[in-house]
């Protein structure tokens, strides 16, 4: 699954660790999602959606 997490994070001037703090996961998890190695759960996708004030579809796209 592709996503715009890295771009959105850069726009808000957040580091991976900052974002990880905000959504309660490890920095490794954020890094794996950004690289498309790991697909987040629905619960985490909702947290990211709420944080960036975008719909889940606007952040994540199916390959």
């Amino acid at each position: 699954m592709k996503n715009k997490l890295k771009v959105l994070r850069a726009e808000q001037d957040l580091t991976q660790a900052d974002l990880a703090n905000k959504v309660n996961v490890s920095r490794q998890t954020i890094n794996a999602i950004e690289k498309g190695k790991f697909d987040p759960s629905l619960s985490l996708a909702f947290k990211l959606s709420k944080l960036f004030q975008l719909s889940i579809e606007a952040i994540f796209k199916n390959d």
């Binding site: 703090n21 309660n24 490794q28 998890t29 890094n31 794996a32 790991f38």
Partner: protein
């Protein structure tokens, strides 16, 4: 919940797990070597040592569950994959080893320690590979 709290909680459950593991290891050593070196084959003391070791083993399982609960979703996936591989290798390898003993392909009896080592080593390898894969 803030990250500081999550990190703090993670540190707490990890220390808890390490302490229970050490305690269990010490009690296992006591139950194994005590009869020969400390209480000269006294059955009552052996039973007490085994009961204590089993009870501490229960605590170790509880500590492990607490540790797994504190992990985030990717860390849980890595653990689940590693445990699945270790279980599979343990069952397949353990049964092959047992059959080798029954068929007298190996000299001597099949030892449970071999199975424990096989599961531990495969778990550690799978965990390392999993952590590297998602790095």
């Amino acid at each position: 919940m803030k990250k500081e709290n999550v990190s703090k909680q993670m540190k707490k459950v990890t220390i808890n797990l390490v302490l229970w593991s050490l305690l269990w290891l010490i009690s296992l050593a006591l139950a194994t070597f005590g009869p020969k070196f400390i209480w000269q084959e006294n059955t009552t003391w052996s039973i007490i040592a085994i009961v204590i070791n089993t009870a501490i083993g229960g605590g170790l399982i509880w500590a492990h569950i607490k540790h797994l609960t504190a992990l985030d979703e990717l860390q849980k996936k890595i653990q689940l994959d590693a445990m699945g591989i270790a279980l599979g290798v343990g069952i397949v390898g353990g049964l092959s080893y047992s059959v080798m003993d029954i068929a007298n392909v190996i000299s001597g009896d099949a030892e449970i320690s071999f199975l424990v080592m096989l599961i531990s080593i495969s778990y550690m390898i799978a965990l390392t590979v999993g952590k590297k894969r998602y790095k």
